[in-house]
């Protein structure tokens, strides 16, 4: 069986790239637009990489993703966002508020929001289909791969039914989605950001969900937590780099960002 399939694929050509032409080094950095978060990544989050924002509920994951979208839209006129909404929680008003607060004129806001495509997706199979269709989406809207950003909010809610099972075959979806993310970022060269939940067994320290297997999928993994001791505005959030392919683990640093009552980053960048 495997033999026939292998034979069908051969003869093919193997292509290897010389490391001097290494893709990521030449790519430009992606910024969240929040100086403290961008600071700890040191500009090493680049186009065509996969970044994960994980954290417990209300830890600022969606707000930080929105900030990244707004920053990308403002900085690059040819940028286009493919937003995959798994929980029906996308609220355009939030993006509108962030853009308006960043001194965009009403015309600019309209143009920016018109470059964010929203797809609601409720099953894993559908998500795979959407990820597969990214090349077609980019072609339809004439987006250069480097200017395309794919957001999945919240990835965990689709994958959760397949994690923690005793049967090995349950992991095939995890594997397929992992591969698809690799395809979108690696082969298509698009930037991918997804949010994931985090759990805690003692109420103090958090670990990302989706298990050990998944930890090799994202290039950068940021853990967000909310400072619960102080509930007054501006709200304070912690960010920790759990993994980054660009730096050794002992260099991983933590930072803090703040949100004022309207959900704007404080102090304003």
């Amino acid at each position: 069986m495997l033999h026939t399939r292998l034979r069908a694929n051969l003869p093919g050509t193997l292509s290897a790239e010389s490391t001097t032409a290494c893709k990521f080094q030449s790519q430009k950095s992606i910024l969240f637009g929040c100086p403290s978060v961008d600071g700890i990544l040191g500009g090493e989050f680049r186009c065509g990489q996969v970044v994960e924002l994980c954290g417990p509920p209300l830890s600022g994951k969606t707000q930080l993703s929105m900030k990244l979208i707004a920053t990308a839209l403002q900085e690059n006129e040819s940028c286009r966002i493919f937003f995959m909404d798994t929980c029906g929680q996308f609220n355009p008003q939030r993006l509108f508020d962030i853009l308006s607060a960043a001194n965009c004129t009403p015309d600019e806001v309209q143009r920016h929001l018109g470059r964010v495509d929203i797809a609601r997706v409720s099953t894993c199979e559908r998500l795979l289909q959407l990820l597969d269709s990214c090349s077609d989406w980019a072609a339809t809207h004439a987006v250069a791969p480097g200017s395309a950003i794919v957001i999945i909010d919240i990835l965990h809610s689709l994958l959760a039914p397949f994690v923690g099972g005793k049967s090995f075959s349950d992991y095939r979806f995890l594997n397929a989605v992992g591969q698809a993310l690799g395809y979108v970022s690696g082969s298509l060269g698009m930037t991918v950001l997804y949010t994931n939940s985090a759990f805690s067994s003692d109420g103090r320290s958090y670990s990302p969900a989706l298990g050990t297997y998944w930890s090799s999928i994202p290039h950068h993994r940021l853990l967000l937590t909310r400072n619960k001791d102080d509930e007054s505005f501006p709200l304070r959030f912690g960010v920790v780099v759990l993994r980054s392919i660009s730096m050794p683990s002992h260099k991983h640093t933590a930072a803090e960002f703040q949100l004022d009552m309207e959900g704007h980053f404080f102090p304003n960048a």
């Binding site: 929980c87 929680q89 929203i118 099953t123 809610s157 397949f162 923690g164």
Partner: protein
């Protein structure tokens, strides 16, 4: 990308047969081979055609047809048109929810027994049917009842109150209604209201899974705009005593089906949840919604109902668009209503009690560890 046929939702029997036949890839199915497939799989011609349809639906690398291509700007315009919502009967509660229960969202109401969760659900079942003239959405409702708490007599009382209101509107001297609207308002009657509420009694979680599986077809036929699950916790909570990982997985797929149905048919889903006691070392014992923190991700809006100084208070503690705030309400003979004397919401930042309640509601339960890693020890989350 090329994909294995395993990733298409099909019955396991079909997978096994397809693998035996050496048909592994999604791309290897074409509509014109239906005759061959029907022979190979020993299924009817219709079944073979259907299978190919399903499989090839997952093969194309183009943007799929089910995806409505809408930009954030389109969505913002839609949102600003103020789409019709289902009113709770209380203006303050509606304001808390941003106008009422919105079609296409999942709302959770949690609270101790007797706080009025079931009353609120029954009220929504009646209110979803309000005629167009009264800003209603004229849909029917499904009531999934797990505890036998559904009381038709109570529902009739609420329906009578609504019908009364419609009659008053129709008989008023207001000139904003023309004769057809008046006629529609007058025809609105209690029996009709009751006939459009479909009651499913579920005795265990298996019943619930079955109902949710059959929902989409039923909902389309009957113009269902509201699904109530009262309560979502009772069957799931203790059914998997020894395997909380299994509970989380089954509940997650249950919610996925429900979510898909809600989104595709623009149906509002309202669920009630029980409360559980959280006991942690070095902390006060407190009440939080049952089923764990991860469960909270499935609901887009979460509201906790509790007593404060003999008043029923609703606290919105999770919402994609609104901050935390509270609203008082009463349960009268006619249903859910406003408290007349208080007409403003309590300012959230001044509301110390709400803040405290909020931080305790967001506390973690131990059972989340099961979702993170299969090698993690499974801890028991609830002490009864």
């Amino acid at each position: 990308m090329e994909r294995d046929v395993d990733l298409v939702p099909l019955r396991p029997v079909i997978f096994t047969r397809l693998h035996e036949l050496g048909r592994h890839r999604i791309d290897s199915f074409h509509l014109e081979d239906w005759e061959m497939l029907s022979r190979e799989l020993e299924v009817s011609e219709e079944e073979a055609k259907r299978l190919i349809g399903v499989i090839s639906g997952y093969s194309r690398n183009e943007v799929p047809s089910w995806m409505q291509a809408r930009t954030a700007w389109d969505l913002l315009q839609e949102q600003r048109l103020n789409p019709r919502m289902i009113t709770t009967g209380s203006e303050q509660l509606d304001r808390l929810l941003g106008g009422g229960v919105a079609p296409g969202t999942i709302v959770e109401f949690s609270g101790a027994p007797g706080i009025g969760k079931t009353q609120l659900c029954m009220q929504l079942c009646v209110n979803v049917q309000l005629p167009d003239a009264l800003s209603g959405i004229q849909g029917s409702a499904i009531y999934i009842d797990t505890d036998g708490a559904f009381v038709v007599e109570r529902l009739r009382e609420m329906a009578e109150a609504i019908v009364e209101k419609c009659r008053e509107e129709a008989d008023s001297d207001d000139t904003i209604y023309d004769d057809t609207v008046r006629g529609a308002l007058q025809q609105f009657n209690v029996d009709e209201v009751l006939a459009r509420i479909f009651h499913f009694r579920c005795h265990d979680y298996f019943d619930m899974l079955t109902v949710v599986h059959l929902l989409p077809e039923f909902a389309q036929k009957r113009n269902v705009k509201l699904i109530v699950i009262d309560s979502v916790a009772s069957h799931f909570r203790y059914a998997f005593e020894d395997d909380l990982a299994k509970r989380a997985r089954i509940m997650n797929s249950f919610m996925q089906k429900l979510n898909a149905c809600a989104i595709e048919n623009k149906i509002a889903v309202v669920m009630t949840n029980q409360m559980t006691t959280r006991v942690a070392a070095g902390e006060d014992t407190r009440l939080i919604p049952a089923l764990g923190t991860n469960w909270g991700y499935s609901c887009s809006v979460r509201v906790n109902l509790s007593w404060r100084n003999d008043t029923r208070i609703a606290l919105l503690f999770k919402s994609p668009s609104r901050g935390q705030s509270t609203a008082p309400f009463i349960v009268s003979a006619a249903g859910i209503r406003d408290i007349i004397s208080m007409d403003t919401l309590i300012e959230p930042e001044k509301d110390r009690e709400a803040t405290l309640l909020m931080s305790s509601l967001l506390a973690d339960e131990g059972d989340d560890s099961i979702l993170a890693d299969d090698s993690q020890p499974v801890t028991q989350d609830e002490s009864a």
